[in-house]
Symmetry: D3
Subunit: 159 residues, 6 copies
């Protein structure tokens, strides 16, 4: 763990995004709320929030921090039978909050996996990336691919 | 959590794979052991093993199980400046072990992220998939894309 | 922790019940799905399942066990503006599973508290009791007050 | 998890109370220190303190916070063969501390359950309520039923 | 984590011992029950039991196992103002249980440290060793220094 | 848990040291990197960092705190076939950080035990002590035996 005692406290936000391809059959069942083990999106949201709080337990070099807010948003993508998730994490601490957003996102995606795997074993998680971060001495950073519309809407709501 | 009391106990293995693209600069530093926060591959291996044991804490519908073995293997891929990780999980229990392999894999990939992000913020995790599972009433399942050579070697060693 | 090495392994079920009085206003908002922080019943179900798995971490003398199944059921009671929860836990182990059912129940009730407290601070949890347990050398036990109709339905479904 | 970044930091105290009815036989054994598995009150105190620290792990929407103090007090009530527990939690944070007091209380009560159940299966936890909270923008709140004498004594000691 | 799938299930016991030197003043206060933060021996016993259950979370290569029993015994040693602790762990599993006994012991010793440090900062933990283990393919093993009388008494009680 | 709400926030450092005697054979294997289960020193470092973060979960009266930094250093001692470990913990909080340094140290030593026990069962952990602490109202404290050279080097680096 790096020393963070000289860093200043600023408000920091990080947004991570990622996608799980579940195939036509599972996509239709999920859209219609007919998956046998329950609603994956509601459960993914809670599991993602809980996992973001466990980040320092999971990642050896992450500091224990006091998260101000964690949110998980989901978007159904019929074009490729996938679900896109965004995880927003916000703190007022000396260190960044990317890993918390990415950990919440990854566990939320795995929760969808767990609930759709009875229908399809050949699932795939792709495109896990940091989309946006603000705060800290380097200021705001935006992924080279830009910010998806849904994340623009989340950011507008945060302000 | 689904009822598993009527399921039989069989030996089960699951292998999950996934990839993190880290870019040319971080890839070179990692290959040469010069990343500032330590060796990501050694740390990813331990973090992945520890996370696989936390699967029922992280995923709401996963049962607490007694893992017989967890392993994390890494392969450097200079062709696209990525690291491919494989996580093997093995149990003698009534339920499958895919989610343990996938959870170990995901946290191992995030550990590499955490140690390479000082060099490159635009990292990407892709191709997270179940490659192989055996045991249970459905028997052995292999991903439609087949089994990579490294996983063939792991399977040969398991037997 | 008591020694359990000589006990036999049998299938065991425990069902615990308890009630949270939330008052007219919160009850109406909950019934209509209009509580500001989300759906307490869905969240209570997941939090209860997760907490049941944490029982040996929380209660000093509880053994680590492999739960086969945990379920949380909720019943709205307009007559006293309360929510009754039932938590079912099932194992094939040497020790009883009452404390797992009671821990899942208690945390599920606290989750409803957390989501209704913005509307009403004077909440009350009452009537937390073991309703039913089966398995073990003493066989089936039923609470002196008998089994509520909802629990009869749960038991019928379990068989 | 709600956003708390704009809230001010104030000193906050919450006191929760609850009761477990254990019946004449278990009450006498407990009073005389003759319960087979050890002293439930000493163990309940430690389990309650440990559980209060786990509140954000157990309740999905609770923020990770730095507790300044947690205490568990017990009062034997021969009139109805019950034990009344009070849990006090104190922080200097932006969010309230009720859920920490209630979680510590609930797990302390369950610990007494676990140690008295060899004597009596028909135990009951009742009257779990928030008695007092101070700090935050709404200031001090007192339960409509007022403050029991034991809690007055605790509050006098806190000042 | 090593593969344990081919190992047979046997009853296994491990006993670890260790000592904390606390100095004359703290030893007298402890013996007379006058340490300011409570009774270290009672608290050490509970903390040790809880920690033994966390062994696979703390030690990377330890398997999750179902402990049948954990006990912590303490012996006051006026001759060198120390407290000797013994931790007994018992399982019916495929792997050994030494690390569980040693982890329970170490955290029990640290708990005594935490409660005596207001009186003496120059504490010392010494002599942490495995005293006895039975079960597994190698059978019973006894430390070259033999078995202390207190441990003989514990073993007599176990049979 | 003692009340810490009136204490001031200062920068605090604690350094704990301890030693594990592993015997000639295991020492030679470890020095040459030939122990069968992997490199104990690398694994001990990570396990120690992770355990220091778990201190409030393990020790009943420890407050949840935000560690700024944890480090584990190892020194091979051929003279007595032992490994000496030092654990440094640093916070900006109201309470001391000794227990975090000692918990990280103890679990790091146990990790070395776990990896060397296939070679030698008669291991021993000795000399666990607090070497140095700074910050807090009592200022800097140094163990009566003074500061080993390796710790001087660590302190020089911290400044």
């Amino acid at each position: 763990m790096a020393d963070i005692s000289d860093k200043g406290v600023t408000q920091r936000v990080a947004i991570a995004g990622g996608r799980i391809r579940i195939g036509r059959e599972a996509f239709n069942l999920l859209s219609e709320g007919r998956l046998p083990k329950g609603d994956p999106l509601a459960m993914a949201e809670i599991a993602g929030i809980q996992a973001a709080k466990q980040t320092p337990t999971l990642l050896p070099l992450c500091h224990p921090i006091s998260l101000n807010r964690v949110m998980v948003h989901s978007v159904l993508r019929p074009q490729d039978h996938s679900v896109e998730l965004y995880c927003v994490a916000e703190i007022a601490e000396k260190t960044g909050v990317e890993m918390e957003a990415l950990t919440g996102l990854s566990v939320a995606l795995l929760t969808i996996w767990d609930l759709t795997k009875p229908v399809n074993a050949a699932l795939e998680i792709t495109n896990t990336r940091l989309i946006y971060k603000s705060g800290g001495k380097r200021g705001t950073w935006i992924h080279p691919d830009g910010i998806p519309d849904e994340v623009e809407a989340i950011l507008a709501e945060l302000e």
